[in-house]
Amino acid sequence: MAKTYKKPEALSEQVTHYCPGCTHGVIHRLLAEVIDELGIRGRTVGIAPVGCAVLAYNYFTFDFQEAAHGRAPAMATGIKRVRPDLMVFTYQGDGDLASIGMGEIIHAANRGEKFTTIFVNNTVYGMTGGQMAPTTLKGQRTTTSPAGRDVEDVGMPVKMAELISALETPAYITRQTVIKPKYIVRAKKAIKKAFQYQMDRRCFSLVELVSTCPTNWGLTPVEAIKWTEENMLPYFQLGEFKTPDEVEED
């Protein structure tokens, strides 16, 4: 059963600036592994968001662009339109993708742009100090919802995977999580599948990843995992919401 495990080539040596236990690190590694396995490092362009992952480009070993807050899907569109042969992914947080970047992600998905979006949903604006995000859970306290998210006042948390699945244009849309090894393995499969659809120039793909932000939640990494499981997973249900195929394949 035993196997070797080491840093993928697509990942740089640099120690990340992420807080201890932050799942951004796990997701980075999965991406790097998939890119290694597909052998596409030399023709991949990543797009870093504005959010805690703004420095993501430091942690990979292939071409990167850094977007403005929320606009990664527009940048990816620009790249894919002029260079359809490149493999392009955006890496975006929930503030980035679901708040300021709502228009861009919906339109890129609707146009069926052939890139992949990795959507890291941790229910808060990590980088700027834990403000409320569109995905903040009902009653969840943040620095700008000090009394807890009041859904009467600001509505329900947005379910991006479901929302984008409501578009008519074919796409691959899935929600996974990385809070435990078994989920991590599935998340990696989903990312790989998304990249494969892109390689085949089939469709847009979005992998939403239910993630943690121990620092801004005020929890230890271990508590954060538990909190995610108990609070996020019941609302942000895991699964495949849409595939471009008539009959689902794996």
Binding site: H17, C19, C52, T215
Partner: protein, 179 residues
Amino acid sequence: MQREVMFAGFGGQGILLIGNILAHAAMEQGFEVAWVPSYGPEMRGGTAYCLVAISDRPIGSPIIRNPMHLVAMNRPSLEKFAPMVKPNGVVVINSSLISIGAERDDVDELRVPANDIAKDLGSTKVANIVALSAFVARSNIVDFEVLRKCVQEQFASREKLIPINMAALDAGEKAARLK
């Protein structure tokens, strides 16, 4: 004259708070003051620091490359800031966590086992107050009694914390005077 104090350590050590208390005390004593924190994504790295400027005239730039004094609560902070302190400044070193020294012979180095003292008092949380107190006692940057009053005010809304913090203040002062 303008004097500046850099407080530095890990996030969670209460660094910003002791800077704040010192600034408050200086203000109470009639000085011009400014308190400047580090901010933004640097915080992710786990470090925290702030600078307090105290002056009898309006304060020019409170962002200062070479502060007069330093209170270093962990080793990386000491390594980073000790070389920048102006000659004759006071450098307080939390010797519970820092084995090395400032490596300067032109500053007034004061080693205080703040965490150990605090632990003896019942909570390592008050190590920051121990260090602040030792610093003030040594530098006389503000009147110690004003500082005492400000610490008290700081915890006014959480009254049960007052005794341990006052004890930390006394212990810190003692540690400074001893040397």
